[in-house]
């Protein structure tokens, strides 16, 4: 019995070490957001400078495209939304950042589409996997097509998030009640790096601080993803077991919880692609799970917003709430109205049928929608 006990204790020690690393990575993420906010503010010289720097993105389509392209390139919406929270903390106006957040939703869908390429050798398998991947694309594109014009016309996301942020923050200090300790914990490290780059001119000091923050975000999200994938696989199994054979609401809930657990919507939506490819899971079961993932991924931006100090903390929280509200509203509206609900799976199925016969269409779709069109639009505006 001795070796088994030793094995168990080693395993539990490993678990403790891994959870400590998770805590460290979350801390690094929070520090990174603070650094991006401070660096951006420092480099741009405040809100007015930030507004001028992101003048190109005042056109909502440009903001949308920039968010989509950045997410498609780094293949992580969590990274992009966290950076956006940091930029808002540094003075980027919330109104400019809203289309960027929507764009991140579109860009993140490229990962599972690329994962579906793993089935390209088998026509039927590919058709199922590709439709499971593109249902996410079509849903997110549809959500943007509905909510971006609505936001431009009414500003409902900005005003609702403002109301909610007001409700959540405490009084004049503009800090989230009970989460003040986050700022207290991260401020010394941010100040330390500010000191390190203090000898540089304002512009370069700010840029260096923001870039270091960006590097920290990449490191923390990559390692957090890897660690949580390993640590939460048991919990993910439990969630999926519970969701099998139940209705779409359970599917949405399990998708949301699984994404919160592994802190990556790309991982969750990509995970179900091979399961769909082998025909075990059907598109109608995968669809709600994908929507849950969209909601679950908003936790990263909310977490990031807790790290922002001072008056800009309010706006950081507001943009994080915009991300949450946008995804929740999209699910509530599109999934609850039956004629809207059927559009993404129908398009995904039909496109997969055509694409499995003409694979060049897949290549044109991936390269065109996620990279070429956004790059051309950005180049034209620039």
């Amino acid at each position: 019995m001795q070796p088994s006990n030793t094995g168990e204790s080693t395993q539990s020690k490993n678990m403790i070490v891994q959870w400590l690393f998770v805590t460290l990575m979350i801390y690094l993420l929070l520090v990174a957001v603070g650094m991006i906010g401070s660096g951006f503010k420092w480099a741009s010289g405040g809100a007015e400078g930030a507004r001028q720097l992101f003048a190109f993105a005042t056109n909502p389509v440009m903001g949308l495209v920039a968010g989509a392209l950045a997410t498609a390139v780094v293949q992580s919406s969590s990274t992009v939304t966290t950076v956006i929270v940091g930029l808002v903390a540094g003075g980027l106006p919330v109104a400019t950042a809203i289309p960027m957040i929507m764009g991140a939703n579109i860009g993140t869908t490229v990962t599972n589409t690329l994962v579906s390429m793993g089935h390209i050798g088998k026509k039927k398998e590919f058709r199922r996997a590709f439709s499971a991947a593109t249902v996410h694309d079509f849903f997110n594109l549809m959500a943007v097509m509905i909510f971006l014009p609505l936001e431009i016309m009414t500003g409902f996301l900005a005003s609702t998030s403002e109301y909610l942020a007001n409700f959540l923050v405490g009084g004049d200090s503009l800090s989230i009640k009970g989460l003040n300790f986050v700022k207290v914990m991260t401020a010394p490290v941010v100040d330390l790096f500010k000191g390190v780059f203090g000898s540089l001119p304002d512009l370069w000091g700010g840029i260096c601080l923001a870039l270091t923050g960006l590097a920290f975000i990449f490191i923390s999200i990559i390692f957090l993803g890897k660690l949580l994938k390993h640590l939460m696989v048991g919990r993910a199994k439990q969630l999926l077991h519970k969701a099998i054979g139940r209705g779409p609401a359970t599917g949405i809930f399990s998708g949301m919880m699984m994404t919160v657990a592994v802190q990556s919507s790309s991982t969750c939506t990509s995970l179900i692609v091979p399961l769909a490819g082998n025909g075990i899971f059907k598109l109608r079961e995968i669809y709600p799970f994908t929507l849950g993932s969209n909601i679950g991924t908003t936790i990263t931006a909310l977490l990031a917003a807790t790290a922002v100090q001072g008056s800009m903390g309010f706006f950081a929280l507001q943009i994080a709430l915009v991300h949450l509200l946008f995804n929740v509203s999209a699910v509530l509206l599109i999934y609850n109205i039956s004629f809207l609900r059927v559009i993404p799976p129908t398009l995904a199925r039909r496109f997969a049928q055509v694409a499995s016969r003409n694979k060049w269409m897949v290549l044109v779709y991936v390269v065109g929608v996620f990279f070429v069109i956004p790059a051309i639009l950005i180049a034209i505006t620039a």
């Binding site: 293949q75 990962t111 690329l114 994962v115 390429m117 793993g118 390209i120 050798g121 994938k229 696989v233 993910a236 199994k237 999926l240 077991h241 099998i244 054979g245 991982t267 990509s270 995970l271 692609v273 091979p274 399961l275 082998n278 075990i280 899971f281 016969r357 003409n358 694979k359 060049w360 897949v362 290549l363 991936v366």
Partner: protein
């Protein structure tokens, strides 16, 4: 000649058969669904293996490129054939 009575009896028999077949189909569908759900549980037990597959691989993109070029050539050749009116034997 079939009498009306015989016809009615035959129709009744056929309707009963249809009902039976429908019930069998429903039962088989239910069994298939249960089996599929069992399979789902089994696959979910191997979720850790799927985590490895759930990442984009460069090899797959290369495979897509090759298949896309092949399919594109076929599509172009089909288009040319339809324009010139020639058919492949």
């Amino acid at each position: 000649m079939t009498t009306l009575k015989e016809y009615k009896v035959h129709r009744k028999e056929l309707k009963a058969q249809i009902k039976e077949v429908k019930a069998t189909l429903k039962r088989l569908e239910k069994e298939l669904e249960e089996e599929r759900q069992d399979m789902q549980h089994e696959e979910v037990d191997h979720l850790d293996e799927y985590f490895d597959q759930a990442e984009p691989h460069l090899v797959d993109v290369k495979k897509l490129g090759v298949s896309a070029i092949d399919d594109f050539k076929k599509s172009v050749s089909k288009l040319m054939n339809s324009i010139t009116g020639s058919h492949k034997e």
